[in-house]
């Protein structure tokens, strides 16, 4: 069982602190929140999950502390920005279990698990599919900002993946030119830029960058014959407007990872340090038929290669 924002008293409680963003951002805050709710539902005791949406990054520590003071047993913090605040809180509160999404742990604390994802692999697989699907041999990417490394990993993986299956492909990619404050919240730019890529021949566009990327997906949806690729979660569910073009999404299974870590934390089996979550491609939904068996075989090979290290998604 779970509820929305707001505190809880008594019972087994799980708290989630978002990065500066909302639990309905159709992106990583939302998947983490869904994971927290799933995790709460999965554990045997009656548990409740609640969240605080951070308004300003200066409030990270305070927002974590609000849950600590309230007696939360597990606290999920979302985004690399909360990394330091989470470590501090974990050190100060050894009895509380912490899960830090996208937070790399240099040294392992027993009560803090960093949930990491190899974004480049996800991007690579999506790119590999795109390389096979493109008819114009031009694939585009509309991206948040290069200031945020996961976005860079997605992009590099995507381009390399496309080249892997289609050496002659031309990759055209753009980062949002504005500051970090608008880079993920500018769907208008995402849409305009996706159109600019379409107009010069791209027929598959990867939209990676919160609302900005979503704008790109929806724009592509309006172009007959063009395909789009979502990011982070299966955007079939988060951006229904993109159904006409969404061939897959480069997923970080944050919800699965968070729910899993919550179960472990409840069971007392959670290991400190880094925990690697799964990445993968979302189902093709309406476009299942255009992905041939041959393509599926290649994707399986790519996946295996990425897993055993024989394929490097970001050479150089």
């Amino acid at each position: 069982s779970s509820d929305g924002g707001g505190g809880i008293s008594g019972g087994y409680s799980i708290g989630l602190v978002t990065d500066t963003g909302k639990v309905d951002d159709k992106s990583f805050n939302q998947s983490a929140w869904e994971g927290a709710q799933d995790g709460a539902a999965n554990i045997p005791a009656s548990a409740t999950a609640s969240y605080i949406e951070t308004e300003e990054s200066k409030d990270y520590a305070n927002n974590i502390q609000l849950f600590v003071d309230d007696g939360a047993k597990i606290i999920v913090t979302v985004g690399f920005g909360l990394g330091e605040a989470t470590i501090e809180a974990a050190k100060a509160n050894p009895d509380v279990m912490f899960i830090g999404v996208d937070q790399w742990q240099n040294e392992a604390l027993p009560n803090l698990a960093g949930l990491m994802f190899p974004e480049a692999n996800a991007g690579f697989m999506a790119g590999a599919l795109a390389g096979m699907l493109t008819e114009t041999n031009i694939v585009g990417a509309v991206l948040g900002t290069d200031l945020v490394p996961p976005v860079v990993f997605f992009k590099e993986g995507w381009e390399n993946g496309a080249r892997y299956t289609n050496p002659g492909v031309q990759t055209i990619s753009t980062y949002h030119p504005g500051g970090l404050d608008v880079a993920f919240g500018d769907p208008e730019w995402g849409a305009t830029t996706a159109r600019q890529a379409l107009d010069q021949g791209a027929d598959i566009i990867f939209g990676a960058g919160g609302a900005t990327g979503n704008g790109a997906l929806i724009e592509v949806a309006g172009e007959a014959g063009a395909l789009c690729v979502g990011v982070d979660t299966d955007q079939w569910f988060t951006v229904p407007e993109a159904h006409p073009c969404l061939v897959t999404s480069a997923m970080k299974l944050i919800d699965v990872g968070v729910a899993e870590l919550i179960s472990q934390a409840y069971a007392g089996t959670m290991q400190g340090g880094n925990y690697f979550g799964e990445v993968g491609l979302a189902p093709h939904h309406d476009f299942d038929s255009i992905v041939t068996d041959e393509m599926r075989d290649t994707l399986a090979e790519v996946m295996a290669g990425l897993a055993d290290g024989s394929i490097n998604p970001m050479p150089g």
Partner: protein
């Protein structure tokens, strides 16, 4: 406009067309993409600038365009997704714009609140309200698609850039002409300019200054409301928090830069859209190996330079009564 200025303008326009054509023959798709992106980015700015201009021509500063955009986009999207009709959403967005315009008028004209404060109230309340009431489950219903204008749409370059556009873009272009004619040829326009320059004079010939300002600021809000509808239902197809992203302020700059005339503002908006599309193109092509942050500065730095130079060439004059509340008598 002085004849020499006019000549310069024509010469500049001819040069631009020539350069565009050269690029087009060298690489058609890219040129088309950049110019289409230019026109696209200009629409919202033009609508915002027209909103600002009608207000300022009547003597009322409107720095609340950003809030008007955001609030209207929110309502347009919400109604469209509730009713499943883009058209109804658009109407609702315009309606919200009118309401926002009326609020601005009620504060700045009726209650004689300082105009800058009134605009700021619109901006922060729009940001707060749209986030506060955002329906977490609302789903978009797609967006307006391009309409080809018959054979015109098949013209090389121009076809894609101007004649294969979604409806609100055409509407905006039509409104540019309409507002131009209205401002500079109609009875309403003459009275509007009079109350912005010398409300006392207008008053003494029996023009009800406050009522006309009320009316104009409200109507202008409708234009910003159309901008909000455009943003949510034509440019993007969904709503997201703070999605106007400072474009209301850019529209203000575009309006001043365009000397508070519709065509001037459109030229300024195109110029701005062009630098934006161009810097995207530089990135797409890897033209320069410089960080996107620097390429991204291009539109802003160029605007500063142009504004400074055009200031030197003879500064534009603000309407004389701009920013002042009018007291009868």
């Amino acid at each position: 406009m002085k004849p020499r200025q006019k000549q310069l303008l024509y010469a500049g326009a001819a040069l631009l067309i020539f350069v565009a054509w050269m690029f087009y023959t060298a690489d058609g798709p890219q040129t088309t993409a950049v110019l289409a992106g230019t026109v696209r980015a200009a629409t919202l700015l033009a609508l915002g600038a027209m909103c600002g201009m009608i207000g300022e021509r009547s003597g009322v500063v409107n720095i609340g365009i950003e809030g008007q955009f955001l609030m209207s986009a929110f309502v347009a999207f919400t109604i469209a997704s509730m009713t499943g009709s883009l058209f109804l959403g658009t109407i609702a967005g315009v309606g919200m714009g009118l309401v926002m315009g009326w609020l601005l008028a009620a504060m700045a004209v009726g209650l004689k609140v300082d105009q800058i404060i009134a605009g700021t109230v619109l901006n922060i309340s729009a940001l707060g309200l749209t986030s506060f009431f955002y329906d977490r489950s609302a789903v978009g219903i797609g967006k307006y698609t391009n309409i080809d204008l018959g054979p015109l749409a098949d013209l090389p370059l121009l076809g894609t850039v101007f004649f294969s556009r979604p409806p609100l873009t055409y509407l905006t272009m039509a409104l540019l002409v309409l507002v131009h004619v209205a401002l500079f040829r109609s009875v309403w326009g003459m009275r509007t300019r009079a109350i912005g320059e010398h409300p006392g004079a207008a008053d003494t010939v029996g023009i009800d200054v406050l009522r006309l300002r009320y009316f104009n600021v409200t109507i202008a809000g409708g234009l910003a409301g159309l901008g909000g509808s455009y943003l949510a239902l034509e440019a993007v197809g969904t709503f997201s928090r703070a999605m106007s992203g400072g474009r209301g302020f850019l529209a203000l700059a575009v309006m001043i830069f365009g000397r508070r005339t519709p065509f001037g503002a459109y030229a300024a908006a195109l110029f701005f859209g062009f630098t934006t599309a161009l810097q995207n193109q530089f990135q797409l092509n890897n033209t320069f190996d410089i960080p996107p942050q620097f390429v991204g500065m291009l539109p802003f730095v160029v605007t500063i330079i142009v504004v400074a130079i055009s200031g030197l060439m003879g500064s534009m004059r603000d309407p004389a009564a701009l920013g002042q509340t009018y007291e009868k008598g």
